[in-house]
């Protein structure tokens, strides 16, 4: 059961991978989400990798994950009849989100201005790679392009080696989440005055926002980071962020100050119990040691950090990431395993919170395990989602019940290839 939170609201989803998460979020909160796709299925039905490497839409992991909870109708936008159906659906919808090339829907009579005349309540969001006014407004797109344009790619990887993206593309997910927030922001005044509006989401901006504190460096410190690999450092206090352990990597950070200083102390104490580390590490006042912030890094600081990082590395190599994480939790040390999906799936905390959710997939004859809700809500809990629809699975149901089409008319449309 999805949440009751947005029950009674309808969203028309005309996105591809630039925004599929948006409709998924609305479906999680109980809205009716109707995915409109071409008769052969939208491009998101054919994104590798596939479950068991079976290259068909039913096994497409992207679709399985991000179309869950939605309904699917088909409409061929290249035909007048297909367009008319979408316009009629939009007249009966509260939200519409789309990610076609800029201006395409306008050119076929499905732009905001046309649809809003019939349905002034409509909130209509367009997800664009580079906004709607700049020289790149019509640029071709792929996820890695936004990752590069948003500045994150430049910061990932090692110096003099190629900048990197993640092995599971992220930009379209940020854009989908942003569209969901923006539409709900616009929903608030609509509940007062009944008027919708047009929203333009800028994907490049969505990634720039993930750069945390780095954007202002050029102005305030007169410098900017390059790729630093496993190191972190916005100031001159460059620290190692990732260490090797017996079966992978651990992320931790040595630092001083009231919060992290105690963590550093606890790590040094733990090392001492196993015969690692030297006296200076154990006697140093880590809580008041804050080089790079309220004091300059001295030669001595650099030597000490180097010594400590080397010692930590030797120490962590004696254990597995699970052993280290367990001790970190017990001793309140700021550290985390560099977890893979197997580690995450085995994690006790997620199990204790009943996070994982079983979602039956009669389409492929098995039940799949999904990540659970993004939040626990006391009055309107988000329950298990339902499987992604087959391409056009709800075509008849929606067109009949919502638009009042007769079976004969549906057959005609089908024969003409419009649905």
């Amino acid at each position: 059961m999805p949440s009751e939170l947005l029950k009674g609201f309808r969203l028309l989803d005309l996105t591809d991978e630039k925004g599929a998460l948006c409709g998924k979020m609305f479906a999680d909160l109980g809205a009716e989400v109707i995915k409109v796709e071409p008769p052969a299925g939208c491009s998101t039905r054919r994104i590798a990798p596939y479950l068991e490497d079976k290259a068909d839409p039913e096994h497409c992991l992207y679709s399985i994950a991000y179309h869950a909870g939605k309904k699917s109708v088909t409409a061929k936008l290249a035909t007048d009849e297909g367009r008319a159906l979408v316009a009629e659906l939009a007249a009966k919808s509260d939200f519409l989100v789309e990610s076609y090339p800029l201006g395409y829907l306008d050119s076929i009579g499905l732009g905001y201005d046309v649809l809003a005349k019939k349905n002034p309540r409509l909130i209509y969001a367009s997800i664009t790679p580079f906004g709607d006014t700049g020289p790149g407004k019509d640029y071709n797109w792929a996820d890695i392009i936004t990752w590069a344009a948003g500045g994150m790619m430049y910061l990932m990887g090692e110096e003099h080696k190629p900048p990197l993206q993640m092995s599971l593309p992220q930009a379209g997910l940020h854009a989908g989440g942003e569209a969901a927030v923006a539409m709900m922001l616009a929903h608030y005044p609509r509940q007062i005055d009944g008027l919708g509006q047009r929203i333009v989401v800028n994907m490049q901006a969505c990634i720039v926002w993930t750069l945390m504190n780095e954007q202002a460096m050029p102005f305030l410190h007169g410098n900017h980071l390059s790729r630093t690999g496993i190191f972190v450092g916005s100031t001159d206090a460059r620290r190692k962020m990732v260490y090797e352990c017996r079966d992978g990597h651990i992320s931790t950070l040595i630092a001083g100050g009231t919060t992290v200083g105690n963590s550093t102390k606890a790590l040094i104490e733990w090392m001492g119990e196993s015969g690692f580390g030297s006296d200076w590490m154990r006697t140093k006042d880590w809580v008041s040691w804050v080089p790079g912030v309220f004091m300059k890094m001295t030669e001595q600081d650099y030597k000490e950090i180097d010594d400590l990082e080397t010692t930590i590395q030797r120490f962590l190599l004696t254990m597995t990431k699970h052993e280290i994480y367990a001790q970190g939790l017990k001793r309140r040390i700021f550290l985390a395993p560099v977890a893979n999906v197997a580690d995450v799936a085995a994690d006790e905390q997620l199990k204790a919170r009943d996070f994982w959710t079983a979602v039956p997939h009669d389409t492929i004859g098995r039940t799949l395990t999904f990540p659970g809700p993004f939040a626990k809500m006391s009055a309107t809990p988000i329950g298990a989602t339902t499987r992604a629809p087959r391409i056009g699975e709800h075509t008849d149901e929606i067109y009949r019940s919502l638009l009042g089409l007769t079976p004969e008319r549906l057959n005609k449309l089908r024969a003409a290839g419009s649905i």
Binding site: A125, A149, Q165, P189, V344
Partner: protein, 405 residues
Amino acid sequence: MSRFALEGVHILDFAWVGVGPITTKYFADNGAEVIRVESAARLDVLRIGPPWKDATPGINRSQFFASFNSSKKGITLDLSKPKARDLAKRLVPWADIIVESFTPKAMRNWGLDYENLRELRPDLIMLSTCMQGQTGPNALYPGFGQLMAALSGFYYISGYGPGSCAPPYGAYTDFIAPRFSAFALLAALDYRRRTGKGQYIDMSQYEAAMQNLAPALIDYHATGRVLGPQANASARYAPHGAYRCADEDGNERWIAIAVASDEQWRAMLNALAANSADPRFATSSARIENAAAIDEFVESLTRAHNAHELTVKLQAGGVAAYPVENCVDIHQDDNLEAFGFWHWLEHKEMGPSPYEGLEHRMSRTPGTLRSAAPILGQDNDEVFRGMLSLRADEIEQLKKENVIF
């Protein structure tokens, strides 16, 4: 019609660091009145996080803090003192929404948890967001977004291949969770309008982050396949990656290119004034199979080109491409400029400072950064005198007692 989408919405914001403040920023930039309660007992660590005005640290000099707190008011209370908690509670009836992001026990210990606060405002909506959620054996896990990005799986899928780890910059998951928490809060506001019911939202940043890894997690549970770091490899595009261009002013420059079809492949060669009769590059599937060879070939061509000029040429031919921009470039980017993304706001101590703008634009009730971030205690007088009707001498006394600091 009100000028901003959320005019009239009130938020009492006890949050700190990233996720909480970024969540309430959505509201503040859209007209809601957000009062940040900064506690001396837990001063926001970002206040001393770099970068600082003139590279000189100070609690009112951090753009790290400022970027996440535009359009908000700021007051100071030492919540470890009972008198401070009483003052905070007097603001609760005013608040539609309360947000906090401490480790779970902090608000409970102060008696400022949902069960207590809803007595003061029965239809209260309250969001608690912490690393791993309010319940479970690891609820008290101390951490920050960098560690969460490692723990939730993003570090592992970032690297040049098996055994390599090249994590994303910064607290990556801090920029995932707020899109979910703001969405949930806005929906909860609407639900309250319809039903009169408030509620409590427990958001684990760990669980929110998982949403961005869903395909890989579903795959693992079903088949045991573990997604690992694959550099810039793609099962759909080739070439697909970042390719070295001509250096500029002694600095390395790179361009990202993604080619999906034969037509785009020909357009790419055309833009690079190159030919290829190599059978390994003849079809899409052949190119994907020979991705390593194609990367080498493409880089041999891009090496002589200016990244910006090449982008224009490639895009003119319909090829997805863009320079790999650094933090200087994004401030000079024509597309972000045309969108009106960057804002220079006048901050009380920092003067004109660069803020990221909104990632979307609304046609009828557009949000904007209404003011720079507050300096510490900037709005104490307005709130304690104006809203709580304390007299000047009472405020002085509370300051002496370090209740207000």
